[in-house]
Amino acid sequence: MEIVSLKLVVIVAEAVLEHQLVSDLNRLGARGHTLVRAEGEGQRGMRVGGLEGGNIRLETIVSGEVADKIMTRLASRYFENYAIIAYQSDVGVVRGNKYV
């Protein structure tokens, strides 16, 4: 089993951003993503589901380069005004070329 090292980028953001974030990911080169409905609390207060929509937790596996682009885009476009965080970490996958 040859394990290739890639980046996992995780974004937690208010649900209203779902379509914008997904289209940003696609545009910047992500080949897929996984989305989970979430709740949370941070600087912008408590966020639960229902009327206020809660949060989404988006994760995508990408090359280091694409990960950088995503982080840059998020910082410039969303960090100031939206409830959102993002982090990246190293992961190992099998079919390396599936993600780049």
């Binding site: 209203v16 914008q20 589901g49 229902g50 009327l51 476009r77």
Partner: protein, 327 residues
């Protein structure tokens, strides 16, 4: 006196009491939570049900009756955001983005306030025009677009939202689920007629007040979580959130009277004008005016104006209608 009696009766309806129970649940920090899926299911149900009933009624309405109130509705939807913006900027000294955001909310409409009014009028045995759900759909959109345009024209360039987020917000408004379900319901009700409605009445007509009761339980909890922000929002916004609805409500009732609606229908037009959006407008404003603060516009709409209308406003506007039609 009569108005107080109407308020008392309204307050003692299961729907309004459920709203109060929701408030209490949050205050005592109960573990009660309405699952998001249940909230969504209820809102789909309520919007579709309202549309269906309206459509079936519309099937029996001559178009000549309809165009005047429709025009009045569009007028309200265009005028309210304009003067609200001016009041917020001049008197409230609120910045451009937040003033535009609030204007969008108060110019648009709260479907649930409308639904609660229907339940109130049904309870009081007052009839109203079947096309009123169509008015809701007409009132929802224009104010949001106008308010976003105001922001667009007044904001310095570097603060302006990205082009494509404006487009996205517009798409959000026009294809949003509240409009889709309301209008979709109206068309289904229109095409399948009273016979079609009868077929689905055991789900979409009879349990309606009960479903509204459950929905208001959740709304009470949501509103209550925002009560803390009312203090932060300040006295001006508290006043704005009560005075403007009363003003809009009276204007709405009057316009209903002028355009030939019944007392019940005029009450509804008053409520539509008085109510502030908390579904369509917040979603669009969040995308197109991210610098505006939800803890201002959502708090005003959800924690001030909605409870006020639900408890005091609805019977009040009906009392106004009685006065106007009575004399």
């Amino acid at each position: 006196m009569e108005t107080l009696e109407l308020i008392r009766l309204n307050l003692l309806s299961p729907m309004v009491l459920a709203f109060v129970l929701g408030i209490l649940a949050t205050l005592v920090r109960s573990d009660l939570t309405i699952p998001p899926a249940m909230y969504t299911a209820l809102s789909i149900y309520l919007l579709l049900a309202i549309g269906l009933k309206g459509g079936a009624a519309l099937a029996q309405t001559p178009l000549t009756e309809f165009w005047r109130p429709a025009l009045a509705t569009l007028l309200l939807g265009s005028a309210i955001p304009l003067w609200s913006y001016v009041v917020l900027r001049r008197i409230g000294k609120i910045d451009i983005a937040n003033a535009a955001a609030l204007a969008a909310h108060y110019g648009s409409v709260s479907a649930v306030t409308f639904i609660a009014t229907q339940a109130f009028l049904n309870g009081a045995g007052v009839t109203f025009e079947g096309y009123t759900p169509t008015l809701v759909a007409l009132l929802e959109v224009p104010a949001i677009i106008i308010a976003l345009l105001i922001a667009h024209l007044n904001l310095p360039n570097e603060q302006e939202p990205e082009e494509n987020s404006l487009r996205r917000a517009l798409h959000e408004i026009l294809s949003g689920k509240s409009i889709l379900l309301l209008l979709g319901g109206v068309v289904i009700g229109l095409l399948s007629g009273p016979a079609g409605l009868e077929l689905v009445a055991p789900l979409f007509v009879e349990p309606f007040e009960g479903a509204l009761t459950l929905f208001l339980l959740e709304l009470g909890m949501v509103a209550s979580r925002r009560f803390g922000d009312v203090r932060k929002a300040g006295f001006f916004l508290l006043g704005f959130g009560i005075v403007m609805p009363v003003l809009h409500g009276v204007i709405g009732v009057f316009l209903g009277y002028v355009t030939g609606m019944s007392a019940g229908g005029s009450t509804i037009l008053g409520v539509l004008a008085a109510s502030a959006s908390y579904i369509a407008a917040p979603a669009a404003v969040r995308l197109a005016l991210p610098q505006a603060s939800p803890s201002l516009y959502l708090t005003a709409s959800l924690a001030i104006t909605f409870p006020f209308n639900l408890i005091v406003g609805i019977p009040l506007y009906y009392a106004v209608a009685q006065r106007i039609f009575g004399g």
